[in-house]
């Protein structure tokens, strides 16, 4: 059983991650994790100290648990960039602060880093309103460039073809053929709508916030920085990490919302998708990095997520995820592993680490922190 410990500040509760039934386990790992949670309240997604929180928690887990593999995500600059208008000086300051935190971790931990930027951002230029179609357009989980289109009429397709902000309308079969993955055909929308650079979709089902920046077209390639190997493709990263782990302690560090244009460390460029399709920061990209194979369709962009999360579902603390993903790096790794990040949900699901700690934030509302213990026996 995987244990989820919620810390809502000065108050903790423990649950079975799958069922969300209250759990009462105790032991050295549970006690250690509770202490770390208690000592590190999350400052908030947009807060200046958010990335420092990642480094502080990661360093403490290294001291307490001595992992060989650690997965980190630094996302504050992504949230700030996405939702706040800022000038070049402010953005530069933000990125410098992020870099200092990453470097602080690397210097103090002694881990060999594999640094990955999740892609460049660009100012939002406009929105494509798809709320009045005969069919249903769905935008999922922070996606900006893509929307799924379900059961469109001929008129919908004609009108959309004339939409100036739209780059392409991709039939389901063409999209799935691109990755030769037909496993989730029942969930994949009939069409994928792809916006031109800088455009987003206005769809039903969203609660709207002002969006300042969105993933740029240059995110077709992402920066990877490491002396452990050379990644030509996003799917190469896992192999590089695993090969490194055979000899040393390795940290896979994701730096969100930064691409080739702004990456502050020496790097090479890796393909971030195929042909016209590239990953935005999100579950597909994280899963691909952690599993070494493309994972476009685990939660396909534009699927009707609301049909799955409305009823009582298992893994209620895991957002839209309906299971712990298979085939991820941490699940296969026999040594100790930890994941820490200011990116909700992904930390306890994607890397597959023994122990994870993440912010429990939804729509930027800071609910506290959550740690998940998948495995205790290595302690």
């Amino acid at each position: 059983m995987s244990l989820a410990i919620i810390d809502a500040r000065e108050w903790q509760r423990m649950f079975d991650l799958r069922t969300c039934d209250r759990a009462a386990q105790d032991g050295p790992v549970v006690r250690m994790v509770r202490r770390v949670l208690e000592r590190h309240p999350f400052p908030g997604d947009l807060a200046e100290l958010s990335n420092r929180w990642v480094t502080d928690v990661a360093l403490e887990f290294i001291q307490e648990y001595d992992p060989r593999f650690i997965f980190l995500a630094y996302a504050q600059q992504y949230y700030r960039g996405r939702y706040s208008d800022m000038g070049p000086a402010e953005r530069s300051r933000l990125l410098s602060a992020m870099a200092r935190e990453v470097e602080r971790f690397v210097e103090r931990s002694g881990f060999s880093p594999v640094l990955v930027g999740t892609g460049d951002m660009t100012p939002r230029r406009g929105a494509i309103d798809v709320t009045r179609l005969d069919g249903l357009a769905v935008s999922t989980h922070w996606s900006a460039r893509y929307a799924g289109l379900h059961a469109p009429s001929g008129r919908d397709l004609r009108d959309l073809a004339a939409e100036p902000g739209l780059d392409r309308i991709v039939p389901k079969s063409e999209w799935m053929a691109l990755y030769d993955d037909w496993s989730q055909a029942h969930r994949v929308p009939d069409y994928l709508l792809v916006a031109k650079e800088g455009f987003t979709f206005t769809t039903l089902g969203q609660v709207h916030r002002h969006i300042a920046m969105v993933p740029a077209g240059s995110s077709r390639r992402i920066p990877v920085s490491t002396h452990l190997g050379r990644a030509a493709d996003i799917t190469d990263v896992r192999g590089i990490v695993e090969a490194g782990l055979a000899e040393r302690r390795v940290a896979l560090i994701l730096v969100e919302g930064i691409g080739l244009a702004e990456f502050p460390w020496p790097h090479t460029a890796a393909a971030n998708g195929r042909a016209w399709h590239f990953y935005e920061p999100g579950d597909g990209q994280y899963l691909t990095l952690a599993s070494g194979r493309h994972r476009v369709f685990d939660y396909p962009t534009g699927y009707k997520y609301f049909d799955e999360i409305m009823e009582h579902k298992e893994f209620a603390l895991s957002g839209y995820f309906t299971a712990i993903p298979e085939g991820t790096l941490g699940r296969a790794f026999p040594g100790r592993s930890v994941a820490v990040g200011n990116r909700s949900m992904f930390m306890h699901l994607v890397p597959g680490a023994d122990i994870s700690m993440e912010c429990f934030a939804r729509n930027l509302y800071n609910q506290g922190t959550m740690a998940v213990i998948h495995r205790e026996e290595k302690f």
Binding site: I6, A8, R9, E10, W11, R13, F15, C20, A127, D129, T131, R132, L136, T202, L204, G205, Q206, V207, H208, R209, H210, F306, D307, M310, E311, H312, A316, L317, F360, R362, N363, Y365, N366, Q367, G368, M370
Partner: protein, 332 residues
Amino acid sequence: MRCFYCERRCELKDGSYGRCRAYKEEDGKVVERFPHAWSSCGTSRIESVPLYHAYPGSRSLVIGTAGCNFDCRYCSNAFIAKEDPERWQGAMIRLEPRQLIGAALKLGCQNIVFDVNEPTLSLPSLAEVSVQARRAGLPMGCLTNAYATEEATELLAGVFSFFNISLKGLSDAFNREFIGIPSAAPVLRNIRRLAETSHVEVATPVIQSVNDDELDEIAGFIADIDPAIPWHVFRLLPEHQMKEARYPNIEAVDGALTAARKRLHYLYFHNFVGSDWVDTFCPDCGALAIERFSLGCGGDMLRRNLCGEGRCPACGRGIPLLAGPAGERRPA
């Protein structure tokens, strides 16, 4: 002329739009400035709104507009409620009532809830939506601060069949300093009025050392109307001007609710993940009637509804629930 929608009764003249900036004077009438323009049009579990005794487990189309007639220092939705609605117009979803109902049906929603900002700002549009919603069999509810005039409250009662009314505090000092209104008297008046004919739940955000000393008095006010009115005590996550304020201590607030629990049948304490106080128990025999799980702010969910036919599964006592397609009220 003066606006008649909320108790501020702003003067609308010479192109002024009043405090909320949602209305203007035109040809001697108060006219909505941005009709049928929605800032949100999404799906939600009704428990997330939160509404615990209306259509448990149902899927709601959640809609909202922009702006507010209050000036809460801790506002959780300042990015939209504190903004001049005019600034939001470029990003609004424009759906006429028939299209909005179509959206609700396409998204598989069983009701419509207005919950992002204050519905009093958009009453003419909502009245039009309610006509179509009624035809489609979709009941409508809302979150409201209930600072409406008596006239507008009658309009609210005609549009919505269920309410979660935010009673933020009782004292004039609190309301002046933290909410920006002189008194909660109109809110109290409207809670009494709406509870006469509609399903009403009440929510109170708790700010430690600011309004937690009023919890017993608020519980007394609700109990005086009907002890079966569900009361949601919210652990406030301060935002906006109070972003740096300390989060209320959960155990301290829980302790402060001891007396209130004896007066009210359905008291819930939540707005934080994993709350222990979100289930419904029978006031007579104490049996579990409805089990929920709290995911904190905007994320509560139904786990099990054991109230077949709106009755306690153990002793058969009535549990007040709105249920069924027509939204029939089942008072205890």
